[in-house]
């Protein structure tokens, strides 16, 4: 079953389009990687799917609904969630409250119940606080449960973004270069985490330059170049595609 379908999507900022006439589909329950050289348009594509950018033309279908015109917060409601290449942490909040914001849709966001601190709000907050702690443990942040976000190291903040994105309880999780800046041990842990997340039934879309991680986790790979689809297929097909090797991987990338 198709969870996400992108049809003839284009986005230009200036004269040269960042995404040009791009069409592809992502099936439910897969780990789908998107690779390509710097400036290929991967982050732009994520911004289009998550609603931060409006496409110049084209359509985005998610879960059989046309979400092209929906604002980002409505897309989160539909089951889309993501992390950012340039961290977007709420540095003015504690680590735990960052994850709690992820549970925003599950908590009671109405004004009067919050203002009067009704018992129902307090109870639900308490329940979700426990779940937020559990999520922080899941991503390996047990040591930072009481930390202020602005006092945490870079690697921990990347995990915090992951925990927050999972708190949205998404159907599809978009990860923009989650391994960037991580050491090999941390990348191996991330590899394991992504597989566990997928095993929970969450469809994972991974933008990543670390090819070892890409080869390890992906069911399917889409290759972007200059905003266009170069090709797509299984890891084996991509590794043996001469165009991809020429445009992006180089001889070394095939084997890494």
């Amino acid at each position: 079953m198709t969870l996400l379908r992108v049809e003839n999507l284009s986005k230009s900022f200036g004269p040269t389009p960042a995404i040009e006439d791009l069409s592809f589909a992502i099936s439910l329950g897969t780990i789908h990687s998107i690779i390509g050289p710097n400036g290929a348009g991967k982050t732009t594509l994520f911004n289009l799917i998550s609603g931060l950018y409006r496409p110049t033309s084209g359509t985005i279908w998610f879960d059989d609904a046309d979400i092209t015109a929906l604002p980002p917060h409505r897309r989160a409601r539909c089951g889309l969630s993501r992390t950012f290449q340039n961290l977007q942490i709420f540095l003015n909040l504690s680590a735990l409250d960052n994850v709690m914001v992820g549970y925003h849709l599950a908590c009671d966001g109405r004004f009067l119940p919050s203002l009067l601190r009704l018992p129902s709000v307090v109870r639900r907050d308490r329940d979700y606080r426990e779940r937020a702690v559990a999520l922080m443990r899941f991503v390996g942040l047990e040591a930072f449960v009481d930390a202020a976000a602005d006092a945490m190291p870079y690697g921990a903040l990347k995990r915090l973004e992951l925990a927050r994105a999972l708190a949205v309880q998404p159907k599809m999780l978009l990860l923009d270069e989650p391994a960037a800046g991580l050491n090999p041990k941390e990348t191996a842990e991330l590899d394991f985490l992504i597989q566990q997340i997928a095993a929970q039934g969450i469809t994972v879309v991974l933008v990543e330059h670390d090819m070892r991680l890409v080869w390890s986790v992906s069911n399917h790979i889409l290759v972007l170049d200059h905003g266009r689809k170069l090709t797509e297929g299984t890891g084996w097909e991509i590794r043996h595609n001469e165009d991809v090797v020429a445009a992006y991987l180089g001889e070394g990338g095939r084997h890494r």
Binding site: P72, H73, A76, F90, D97, V101, H104, C107
Partner: protein, 318 residues
């Protein structure tokens, strides 16, 4: 024990203690007058801090909302004989609606543009109050009848002190509730990263509008109280200088600290009274305080002090 360190328990208790204990040391009516003005300013600042400190937006026009509340009470009770509480509620509702309608276009602006937008709003309100002399008495101002409710007249510094103290405590209590709730987290998330907030499902515009309206309504309520207390108001209440005063109080006390807003309001209300020679240079002093805070005390008084105490305690334990 540890829970007494929470703002909602220990902090509120401390504030109530100060408000209740202060009359023991206030020697005469002049000091009561200053204390009452502190309470009124603090109430405005607690709401303004929700907007500036927590949600990360700016308003350089909040004196306008304060003045609208004041004039609503003055005109409706004085010229139309409304009961004061009804006038106060009508003023708050009117300001709520006005701020709601204006918030949509204004809050789409960011940074300097938002500052300019709210600045313009404050100036327009000030001009209207000055020009509509038939209604407001123009630059000369207008008298306001005293506050009567439930068959009683609030008169004398003791009664006003009690009323304003109560209003401040309730405002702080509600604000603390809000901050530590899904709504409060959403507001702070909007401050931290609008994109990330939106992608966790936070309707960014809705929460920005909400906090703008809440802070405007609180300013209007405080303005109504002020009008009855002072007995006479002028359009100066809506002036740009007054808006800057309010922002300076929030910044000095500490952004994103509710008790900071109270402390900032106290310091900057008392200071000009204590140093009467400063009256002529009031704006100069406020400008200097604003600059000094931004350069030397980024976080403001209360968060800086709280941080120092926390460090002291931690190193004491270690």
């Amino acid at each position: 024990m540890a829970s007494l360190w929470q703002p909602r328990t220990g902090g509120l208790l401390a504030l109530a203690g100060v408000v209740a204990g202060l009359p023991l040391i206030l020697p005469n009516a002049f000091y009561y007058d200053v204390a009452i003005l502190v309470g009124i300013n603090a109430t405005v600042c607690v709401g303004l801090n929700l907007l500036i400190g927590y949600a990360g937006q700016i308003s350089l026009g909040h004196a306008g909302f304060f003045a609208l509340g004041a004039y609503a009470s003055a005109v409706l009770t004085g010229d139309h004989g409304w009961p004061p509480l009804a006038a106060l509620a009508a003023g708050a509702a009117g300001v709520g609606m006005l701020s709601f309608v204006l918030a949509q276009p204004i809050l789409k602006l960011k940074g300097h543009y938002l500052a300019m937008g709210t600045l313009g709003l404050g100036i327009i309100i000030s001009i209207v109050l000055n020009q509509e002399a038939g209604l407001t008495g123009g630059p000369d101002g207008m008298p306001v009848p005293s506050l009567r409710a439930l068959g009683h007249t609030v008169a004398g510094e003791h009664a006003w002190y009690a009323l304003v103290g109560l209003v401040l405590i309730v405002s702080v209590w509600l604000t603390l509730n809000l901050i530590d709730s899904p709504v409060g987290r959403a507001l702070q998330a909007v401050h931290g990263s609008e994109s990330a907030a939106a992608l966790t499902g936070v309707d960014v515009i809705r929460y920005k509008v909400l906090v703008f309206v809440v802070s405007a309504v609180l300013a209007s309520l405080a303005g109504s109280l002020f009008a009855h207390y002072a007995g006479f108001i002028t359009p100066a209440e809506a002036s740009f200088a007054r808006s800057i005063e309010l922002v300076t109080m929030v910044v000095l006390g500490g952004m994103a600290s509710t008790f900071g807003a109270v402390v900032g309001a106290a310091v900057l209300t008392i200071l000009p009274q204590a140093l009467t020679a400063f009256q002529d240079f009031k704006m100069l002093v406020f400008g200097a305080v604003l600059m000094g805070t931004m350069i030397f005390l980024r976080k403001g008084l209360v968060p800086t002090l709280a941080g120092l105490i926390r460090n002291r305690m931690r190193s004491g334990r270690a």
